[in-house]
Amino acid sequence: MSYTSHAIILWALYSVILLLSAKPLGSFMYTLFSGGRTFLHPVLRPVEAGLYRLTGVDENEEMGWRGYLFASLAISILTLMVTYLIERTQQFHGHFFNPRGFPNVAEFLGWNTAVSFTTNTNWQNYPGETTMSYLTQMAGLATHNFFSAAMGIVWAVALVRGLARRSASGIGNFWVDFVRALLYILLPFCIVLTLLYVWQGVPQNFSAYTAVHGLEGAGKVTQLIAQGPIASQEAIKILGTNGGGFLNANSAHPFENPTPFSNFIQLLSIFLIASGLVYMFGKWVGNTRQGWSVWAAMFILFSMGYFVAVGTEQNGNVFLASRAHVATAASATQPGGNMEGKEVRFGIADSAIYATETTDASCGCINSWHESYTPIGGLVPLANIGIGEVIFGGVGAGLYGMLMYCIIAVFIAGLMVGRTPEYLGKKIEGFEVKMASLALLISPANILLFTGVAMMGSWGLSSIFNPGPHGLSEVLYAYTSMNGNNGSAFGGLGSNTNWYNITGGFAMLIGRFLFYTPLIAIAGSMARKRTVPESLGTFPTTGATFSILLVFVIIIVAALTYFPAYSLGAILEQLLLNAHKTF
């Protein structure tokens, strides 16, 4: 594999900024969620208190894990149904909110989209600029971008509280956490980011699309230039690791991501909160080294994925490279490698790091077409989602997924070396291991069963645009993405069918809510436990040993689960490509 100096400098610069941001942001979130006073309180506390008075929320009331979960489910059902209603009544939105006069969204597509945005997936079986009115984009989809991101954050906070508290029956108040995540974190960041995007050239208006004619002259070829309130949606789309584009081409479109600078801002936004949450975790449990150990494991996995993706893409297509007249080496006049499906303004490195990150996290926005990657390059995003998007991960979702792996890791370590399974001074007992195992099994069952059934008949097969192993990867990626609430598409799959709309909707709901249910049960169980003093039999969960153990546990668990499916798809495709066999 070959690397350009740009690819290495980009990774190094990005990593340093991410590292430096973790502590201040993590400290801020710790202060906020532990009930302290932040620098935003003088302005926002009156608004927060007003919201509680208006809704009758007692901010001092503690909830058990079931109460916390049921509150999350209640607001999810409500907002899902409201979004569905907005989509199904587009014809009444009026000229200001629906200047293109789009009709109501079809039933199953509307349901799939409502589920998709409720679950933070943002899988899109529609092109935004030709389907959704401005009201649907803002009141339905962008609102969900905020709500689902806030829910991910507070779910992680609840789990961290459960791990940190001793002999407690409650894990916090969902409504208070939810309001704080929205008001103190997401909204202020999004205001700043929106202005940055507008500065870079992202539109923010309510204008009808502009009709322009090309060089052929007026009346010959007319093109409509889509626009709208894009910058504001772009900000939360990335920061909240939602990923649903206002425009069909997502962040590859110059109106969503116009410059390399806006691309770098987006890269930072994807990991920013997730990285801070890991530091918050360490601070909350009273030992920041706990947080840094997890952060280090995440960073190792991120770097591994990036260097595989960028290396294979820079190497390019081996079949093309074997032809004497095709030059695939980088030079002063061409980027070399595999540029298919990549924007020339970003090139290979900025595309590969974006693809890696957006699937490390549950973001799912794209600035390049993942299907056009080399088979192994495209396997990186697929595998990232498959292991559970725990590499910094979605806002909150990455941390609670990683904490599940931590519990599995200390349990496995305990079995291997005869140490007592303990985590953060609390004994890991049968209940926690059962719940963690349940969470671990739900995702592969969801992904592999739906993929398997889709491959059994015309309901799933008829939408595949590419034959051979690539076609399997398209379906496998789709269900992996929907289960992981990622939302990025491999591409090449016509998924706006009743089969994919309905099964995809259930895959997203299962991947979001059923996956989290056992984890919040662990929070409730751990909160009740007393801490036990560290002994010689305690397996240390700080330091390099634990980070490396965690990395290996994640890789081994994921490899055992998905390797057969990957070998029939991307790995087989790469081997066949090496033998110059294409489909």
Binding site: R66, I77, Y84, S169, L438, G505, F506, L509, S525
Partner: protein
């Protein structure tokens, strides 16, 4: 017609999720509300 189905699918899933949570709680011994 399909609108009703969309609502039913949503409610069925969330009812199943509540049942799953109650099942987890039973496994825990029903200690935490």
């Amino acid at each position: 017609m399909f609108d009703v189905l969309a609502v039913v699918m949503t409610l069925v899933f969330f009812a199943a999720n509540v049942a799953f949570a109650i099942g987890c709680d039973r496994l825990m011994g029903g200690r935490n509300r």
